[in-house]
């Protein structure tokens, strides 16, 4: 304890700490990581039985041995389709490490073959949305301008106007979409994972979904106006303006007022 109290911190330490904090807040919004998903193949009976084994070993604890769900713990997976499995497992959200307000995207625990087998098993339980093919999610085939109009109406309130993400209630948040693969974006709209509502093909048609993907793909080139601060909105920008901007003004004021040595 004595050693600790004798330690003299550099007088710039609080300032450095502040910068670390600001940088942390700015980058925190965009830490969501994803791995690319490959094109889908036809599911065989082998895939389904392999998937069934994987399910029993990794998912059944919460979702039940027949994927019927557990009241208050995990939802039923009957009828959620291959798209839901490919999204949840392919982005590392499932299996969850701990229950909490948000299912966080983590390192993916299975390879794409295993994910496909799991998806084939869940899809075999009841009909549900399938994994889209490569053409359906190709940003080069979409119309980014129409995608922007749709994104502004349906998505921007949670994910931000350029897909930077944003806060929801009680610790939940809408993640950044900059690193999400086109296939996972498509699947998320189709199945409505976690807090996100469903945008089925009658609401946003498959062509419209591809337009939205094209718009999001355009955003990956960066913002022309300088540092975007994660594009998470007024909180990050306000922190920088108030702490850094006001700090500089206060610093200059003090310097101007102090007598020269």
């Amino acid at each position: 304890m004595r050693r600790l109290s004798l330690t003299r911190y550099h007088r710039a330490a609080p300032l450095v700490l502040l910068f670390v904090l600001l940088a942390g807040i700015t980058t925190a919004a965009s830490f969501v990581q994803s791995t690319p998903a490959s094109a889908t193949a036809e599911a065989s009976a082998d895939d389904i039985s392999e998937g069934s084994k994987l399910f029993a070993a990794n998912c059944a604890t919460c979702h039940g041995l027949d994927a019927q769900g557990t009241e208050g713990v995990a939802p039923s997976l009957i009828g959620v389709g291959a798209a839901a499995v490919d999204f949840q497992v392919g982005t590392g959200r499932m299996p969850m490490q701990a229950s909490g307000p948000q299912a966080i995207a983590k390192t993916v625990q299975f390879n794409q073959d295993q994910i496909d087998q799991l998806a084939a098993y869940v899809a075999s339980l009841a009909p549900g949305p399938a994994v889209p093919d490569a053409d359906a999610v190709d940003p080069a085939l979409g119309n980014a301008a129409n995608g922007m109009a749709l994104f502004r109406t349906n998505c921007a309130m949670c994910h931000g106007s350029v897909g930077g993400g944003g806060a929801l209630t009680q610790g939940k948040y809408a993640p950044s979409l900059w690193a999400t693969t086109p296939t996972h974006i498509y699947e998320a709209m189709l199945v409505g994972p976690q807090s996100m509502p469903v945008f089925n093909n009658a609401n946003i048609t498959p062509e419209d979904k591809r337009d939205i993907i094209a718009y999001l793909d355009e955003q990956r080139n960066g913002a022309p106006g300088g540092a975007a601060l994660g594009a998470i909105g007024p909180v990050a920008e306000g922190l920088w303006a108030w702490i850094l901007g006001m700090g500089i003004i206060v610093g200059f004021t003090v310097w101007i007022g102090v007598r020269s040595s």
Partner: protein, 340 residues
């Protein structure tokens, strides 16, 4: 000629003892040590030099960089360098000038004395005399020239109307305030998708779905389209019917778990659209008012004071969702509630 010449040197009478200025002058390093003075001079010159570099940098960045939608990264670099150059050009001059003044310019204490604010008695009497003369000359205050006074006061009173009437008149030709209590929703009007205007079938609204809705025909309006849209936008949601607590008196306002609520927050009118599918909570992004869609969009958190107005819906013969009527209460901020 100044009227207070007479007491230019009269000092304010002290109400308390003057603590005085300490009788010591601490010279700066640059005052004593020619080396320190030379160093301060170089520092100042360096700051001005920084400004010059900044100017050159801004011009160089503008001349060699490019701003185009083709290459976003290049655009970002160019605008960043131009901004940085201008920043250096300005801050260099400013800090250099202050550093110069603080370290090298003449350094001696000065005392400036305050003088009384009150004018001399002669000046005050003279002013009052002039006012009295003026009043006497104009005849004001002794009951005459009623026509002059009356017309002057009238002219002064109505002159602001020349500005106010056109300004208020330009705010719009329509002063029917009751319109603020209604939107364009009518009985049998279909709910359509924003922005395309395609009608919505009840069977397309699957559980957990959210549709952002505008009234049928909104896109065909020639005038006031945005005003009408701002009043009429609706969020259409389907809940599992087991999760939906239908409010008393609104038994036939929903259809098989499908409910429609105004998207305009009852706090200050932001569009409320952050719908969380699992909790059925609807969050307003402006001030975090949270509405529970499963319970009549009642406020569960935040500054909003009343639930979102519900749009009564039904399904027509072709399976499309239609409105039963307009909203039954004014949409938007709670203020309008008081007009009812």
């Amino acid at each position: 000629m100044s009227i207070d010449n007479a007491h230019d040197h009269e000092v304010v009478e002290e109400e308390f003892t003057d603590p005085g200025v300490p009788e010591y002058h601490r010279p700066r390093r640059a005052d004593l040590d020619p080396k320190a003075a030379r160093k301060a001079e170089l520092q100042t010159a360096a700051l001005f030099g920084l400004s010059i570099i900044g100017t050159v940098m801004a011009i160089w960045a503008w001349a060699t960089g490019s701003v185009s939608s083709e290459n976003i990264a290049e655009t970002q670099r160019t605008t960043m360098l131009i901004g940085l150059g201008i920043f250096l050009a300005m801050i260099g001059i400013g800090t250099g000038a202050i550093h110069w003044a603080k370290t090298l310019m003449r350094d001696h204490e000065m005392i400036e004395e305050r003088h009384p604010m009150r004018s001399s008695d002669e000046a005050r009497e003279g002013a009052i005399e002039k006012l009295k003369d003026g009043a006497k000359d104009s005849g004001v205050g002794i009951g005459r020239r009623g026509l002059l006074k009356g017309s002057l006061i009238t002219a002064l009173a109505i002159a602001p109307l020349a500005v106010l009437v056109p300004a208020v008149g330009n705010m719009g030709g329509d002063w029917d305030v009751s319109k603020l209590k209604h939107s364009m929703w009518r009985q049998g009007m279909r709910l359509t998708k924003d922005p395309s205007g395609e009608p919505i079938k009840a069977s397309d609204v699957t559980i957990g779905s959210v549709f952002h809705v505008i009234p049928e025909g909104l896109n065909d309006l020639e005038h006031h389209k945005l005003e009408e849209k701002a009043k009429a936008v609706v969020l259409l949601v389907r809940l599992d019917p087991r999760d939906l607590n239908i409010q008393p008196g609104r038994e036939d306002w929903s259809f098989d778990g499908i409910v429609a609520y105004s998207k305009i927050c009852t706090h200050v009118g932001c569009p409320v659209a952050l719908y969380e599918q699992q909790t059925h909570h609807l969050l307003c992004p402006c001030h975090q008012s949270t509405f529970d869609v499963a319970n009549g969009a009642k406020v569960v958190f935040g500054p909003a004071k009343r639930p979102l107005p519900q749009l009564p819906i039904a399904v027509d013969d072709e399976g499309y969702i239609v409105a039963q009527s307009d909203f039954h209460e004014p949409i938007g901020p709670s203020f309008w509630e008081r007009l009812k």
